[in-house]
Amino acid sequence: MIARLSFKNLTGRPGRTAALVLLAAFLAFSIFGGSLMILSLQRGLDGLEARLGADIIVVPSSARSKFNVNDLLLQGNPGYFYMNKSYADQVAAREGVEQVSCQLYLASVSAGCCSVPVQIIGFDPATDFTILPWARETYREEIGRGDILVGSDVNVPQDGILRFYNVDCRVVAQLSKTGSSLDTAVYGNQQTIQALIAASQERGLNQYNQIETDKVVSAVLIKVKNGYDVEDVKDDINIHVRKVVAVRASHMISGIADSLAGMSRLITLFIAAVWALCLAVMAVAFAMIMNERKKEFAVLRVLGASRGRLAGLVMSEAAAVNLLGALAGIALALLAVLPFSAAIEKGLGLPFVIPDAGRVLLLAAAALGACLAAGAAVSALSAVRVSRVDPSLMIREEN
């Protein structure tokens, strides 16, 4: 009966019910949407961290003129720069360096596969310790000449062939998302990238016309030996190897981590403000509504409703409103975040990776629980007051 009466009360006053549902929706939207944003940003950072693999990255000093080396991983515009392979040997010889692996970069000017030019990265499968562990999540075969791995944001044609500088490349795997510019990059072995660079030179589309592709590298990725301080090894390279810049890989994402922390604080503040405001408004709204309906509750007492039944009626109405509002808020947050994750990533300039469906569901359930609990707490006060009405005085007051 309580449920039916609650339903009648809610549907009998659609305006009042809609206003309460809207408040509950705000609560759910802010906490679910905000938490989803924070979680996605955190996941983006974690993914990027996991993908770095290297302790130090060495690039030619000339690369500095093209972009901030610290933004190497995140800068959106593909670029290319080269240094003699001998620098890799010099770097590898420094104390504390355990392993080095070279990469060769090429920017495609326009590719049929993508709406924007992509960064093409050549790596050496024999020495690589950053790309292959990532690729192994989806592809375990040997990566041969002409085979490429593509980032998660690269559109792959149905035939699996991407053409760069009139060279056909076979897409063998698509990598998991990092939320960085790595997601729009293409990866191949040294032979593949050398062939592409040569093709770009033939077409006059590469400013480095004179380079011998088998004698140059773009970046040297370094793993530091256990027991050595990464900072010391980096400084040692910068001091003793000329015409290169060594950068700590973690510094490349420290800015992101700082931005993420700032953004998380901002979102948390936003959630707290919305909750404080909505809960206060909700408490006042409930109190006003209960006051308006006190005669109705007095009548129910006269007809034999116990204090517990009255409290149950108030609580069930509040629960229905909060459930409806929370579901609407969660749905709205999903609609606002999921389809626009790429735009959010671009807007914030931070890696943004939506968690898997299971975690999103878990987060939605937690948000729903939080909204229902908060709504129940707010309405409980009104429920207690309602259950204490003196029906004899109340009815007389009203007449």
Partner: protein, 226 residues
């Protein structure tokens, strides 16, 4: 049936002080099955206070109220509420319908508070017929006149076939014709075995009552008895 024993009611004017207002002087009073008892008196004389005490809605300062052998105010709230729902029909003063419900739903409300299964819609319709608003059963309460609302409240008080009916100004807002119909219904209800209390200013009510009391300044005195 329903008996007030040594009941009195004071309201403290100032909490904890000896300054109080005496709403009801110490009295003994009883309602018997099959009899209509009327209480008249000026507004504020204590009539409604006594009715609310008899209904288990207002705890007396002193004394007991017994329904058969049960001391109402010794019961916990849940049991007292259920007892009131089952055995005591109350017609409160004024407009007391739930606005979100139709007339028929309002009449069935006491039954729906604790019962399951099919509601006694046929009895509800019969009662609406007897109070003359059968054609309004699907109308929402907000669309009723004051008199129609009073008649709905009477039908609602009778839906559970209570052992006791306590009616506070049941003929308020009614024209002469409907006043007579309601008073006849009260009389018929008593004839079916219910103990009926009418608290009213209506002079005509005395014709239908077995006993008439007058309340003055919280003191009850018997005026006439058959």
């Amino acid at each position: 049936m329903l008996r007030a024993e040594g009941v009195l009611k004071h309201y403290d004017r100032l909490r904890g002080s000896s300054n109080y207002f005496c709403a009801l002087q110490k009295l003994d009073f009883a309602l018997e099955p099959g009899r209509v008892t009327e209480i008249t008196g000026r507004s504020g004389s204590g009539k409604s206070t006594l009715l609310n005490i008899l209904a288990g809605l207002l705890r007396p300062t002193e004394g007991k109220v017994r329904l058969e052998q049960t001391d109402l105010y010794a019961l916990p709230d849940g049991e007292l509420s259920r007892l009131r729902n089952r055995a005591i029909g109350v017609v409160p003063q004024g407009q007391t319908g739930l606005r979100s419900l139709t007339v028929l739903e309002n009449v069935l409300l006491p039954w729906q508070l604790y019962s399951r299964g099919h509601a006694p819609a046929a009895r509800a319709r019969e009662l609406l017929e007897r109070v003359g608003i059968a054609d309004l059963e699907q109308v929402r309460i907000g669309e009723l006149s004051g008199g129609e609302m009073r008649r709905m409240a009477i039908a609602r008080a009778l839906i559970m076939q209570p052992a006791v009916l306590l009616a506070d100004e049941p003929t308020g807002d009614l024209d002469d014709e409907n006043t007579a119909a309601v008073l006849r219904l009260m009389r018929d209800t008593a004839r079916e075995g219910t103990a009926v209390l009418l608290v009213t200013h209506e002079a005509e009510a005395a014709r239908y009552a077995d006993a008439v009391y007058r309340m003055e300044a919280g003191a009850l005195s018997l005026q006439a008895a058959k």
